[in-house]
């Protein structure tokens, strides 16, 4: 098994940029018109994030859980697997994350919105907007057709970015468990996209960086408080 470590990242990117984008087009065609309810869900969750309420956070967790499940079971296992033999394994990871988010959303004691500093609220909201609107549309800059865009809830990258946004916005140590798979996936998808020179790399690494900076600032503030 250790012999696999001899392979570099470029050895593992087994398809071309064009093939990946075309696969995305075929996927969107195959699932049409699922894009319509997916966009409705995206806008609904965005509204909640812009107007957070105590109970509505459950909806965001449930919505994101469904998005991870769909991305794992449908995108990875049924479509991405046509060009990447590792995709079924990614599918299982996504399914686990989906169930975790749904479990938190259904838990009797609802997670609470953090009352963070104001700038953090803006960062969180900007990240969410990037996930559901900016990133999908930015894919047009790569020369994609509208049918080849990556939409929230249906594809991994925007779903991942939205998840980082949500996890910036809630309190409690349990959220670190919820971020393990997103962080792992950021490295996998970010690296693949980097090799293929896709915008996804920048979007995913930005979201990861924002989340890490937030954790870093929390740890710093905690240490400062203890020092006092």
């Amino acid at each position: 098994m250790l012999e696999l470590l001899q392979f570099s990242l470029s050895d593992m990117v087994m398809y071309s940029r064009q093939t990946y984008i075309e696969m995305m087009g075929l996927y969107n065609q195959a699932i049409w018109p699922t894009q319509v309810p997916a966009m409705a869900l995206a806008l609904w969750l965005l509204y909640i994030v812009l107007n957070p309420g105590r109970q509505s956070i459950r909806v965001v967790f449930l919505g994101l859980g469904v998005a991870w499940l769909w991305s794992g079971l449908v995108f990875h296992m049924r479509h991405y697997s046509s060009i990447n033999w590792a995709a079924p394994a990614f599918g299982y990871l996504f399914a686990v994350q989906g169930f975790l988010l749904i479990a938190v959303g259904c838990f009797p004691k609802a997670p609470v919105w953090k009352a963070p500093r104001k700038w953090l609220v803006w960062v969180n909201q900007a990240l969410f907007i990037m996930a559901v609107l900016v990133y999908p549309l930015a894919c047009l800059l790569e020369g994609r057709t509208p049918m080849q865009l990556e939409l929230f809830a249906l594809t991994p990258a925007p779903t991942l970015i939205a998840t980082f946004a949500l996890l910036l916005f809630v309190d409690g140590h349990w959220r670190y468990w919820l971020v393990l798979i997103p962080v792992l996936w950021s490295f996998i998808s970010g690296s693949f996209s980097w090799e293929l020179e896709l915008l996804e790399a920048y979007a995913v690494f930005t979201a990861l960086l924002v989340w890490l900076m937030n954790v870093g600032s929390e740890v710093f503030r905690l240490n400062m408080r203890k020092a006092k």
């Binding site: 392979f7 398809y15 093939t19 075309e22 075929l26 060009i83």
Partner: protein
């Protein structure tokens, strides 16, 4: 959309020279292609003997890494079928793939179905690459199904992964007649010491390694070892994964390239590789019909002698 995407995709297998010529004429390739390249005569092909039986292979083969992993996209699958059809029509033989290449084996099976079976010149080569010894048999069975072949000409152990176990399995398959030849592969200059030891001590027929006009480390020990043991050599990455074109495509081809019948850089790079007496064939990969035509240009005409090889290497180094 590229020019090759505009190809009229025939529903019928491309089985004759007229259909082929009509196809490439449709994308304006015919007028730009030297008549000698369009010859489907096999008399003028550059072939190399590789076994005691006297069997020979065309010196230009075809790789499928990335280029044939196109998934379920029928339009792209049909376009790759044209690429494979061009390869055979211009005298190509060895086609190399691996289960590691995503859907490449499945797409090859699709293309072979479309082109019509059997392809008399096909020399099928694939690999086993699972690190789990127990999965080797399953992977081999899958490859037979995906290619649609009862027998493989060459079965290789991919990048030496679990090679001790897989070698035993492949020997058993060879004994049973499901495989004609056995090989091991490496790429990017990895694990050369181990590869040399395998060449020296194991009963293999082929070895696959990286060799091109800039990556020549194998000339020191591996190629001499292969000659000594009578092991045929397949050169992968003859264009350094395309980097040679990025580095040199805008530089002028030397005027004397015409003396060895090279009209383009692809021919220049390939003829350098296959003119080494240890190399049996090179396996460039492409997704474009016009690039395939360029590659196959190296299958005809003169090969450089050792003096010209040195001149070629010096010229590239000077750019």
């Amino acid at each position: 959309m590229t020019d090759t995407d505009k190809l009229e995709l025939s529903e019928k297998p491309i089985t004759n020279r007229r259909t082929f010529l009509k196809t490439i004429a449709g994308v304006g390739l015919l007028s730009a292609t030297p008549q000698s390249l369009l010859s489907s005569d096999t008399d003028d092909l550059l072939l190399k003997k590789f076994s005691d039986t006297g069997e020979r292979l065309p010196v230009i083969g075809m790789g499928t890494w990335i280029t044939f992993n196109v998934g379920n996209n029928i339009q792209t699958r049909n376009q790759r079928t044209q690429v494979l059809g061009t390869f055979f029509k211009l005298g190509g033989g060895l086609v190399d793939s691996s289960p590691m290449y995503g859907s490449a084996e499945e797409v090859l099976g699709y293309a072979l179905d479309r082109l019509g079976r059997p392809q008399p010149s096909l020399f099928s080569a694939t690999k086993v690459w699972t690190p789990f010894a127990s999965r080797g048999e399953w992977q081999i069975e899958e490859s037979h199904k995906l290619w649609g072949l009862q027998q493989f000409d060459l079965y290789q152990i991919h990048n030496l992964v679990a090679w001790e176990h897989h070698l035993q399995t492949l020997q058993q398959h060879k004994h049973e007649g499901a495989i004609r030849y056995i090989g091991v592969t490496t790429s990017h200059g990895r694990r050369h010491q181990e590869l040399e030891q395998i060449i020296q001590t194991q009963p293999i027929d082929f070895v696959q390694l990286t060799y091109n006009i800039l990556d020549r480390e194998v000339e020191r020990r591996l190629l001499p070892a292969a000659i000594e043991k009578g092991v045929a050599v397949i050169a992968n990455r003859p264009f350094q994964g395309g980097d040679l074109f990025f580095k040199l495509a805008r530089k002028p081809l030397p005027k004397w390239a015409g003396d060895i019948d090279c009209q383009n850089w692809a021919g220049f790079f390939l003829k350098f590789v296959v003119s080494h007496h240890a190399i049996t064939c090179a396996i460039p990969a492409t997704s474009q019909v016009e690039h395939m035509i360029e590659n196959m240009g190296a299958l005809r005409g003169k090969l450089p002698d050792s003096k010209t090889r040195k001149r070629m290497a010096d010229y590239v180094a000077s750019l």
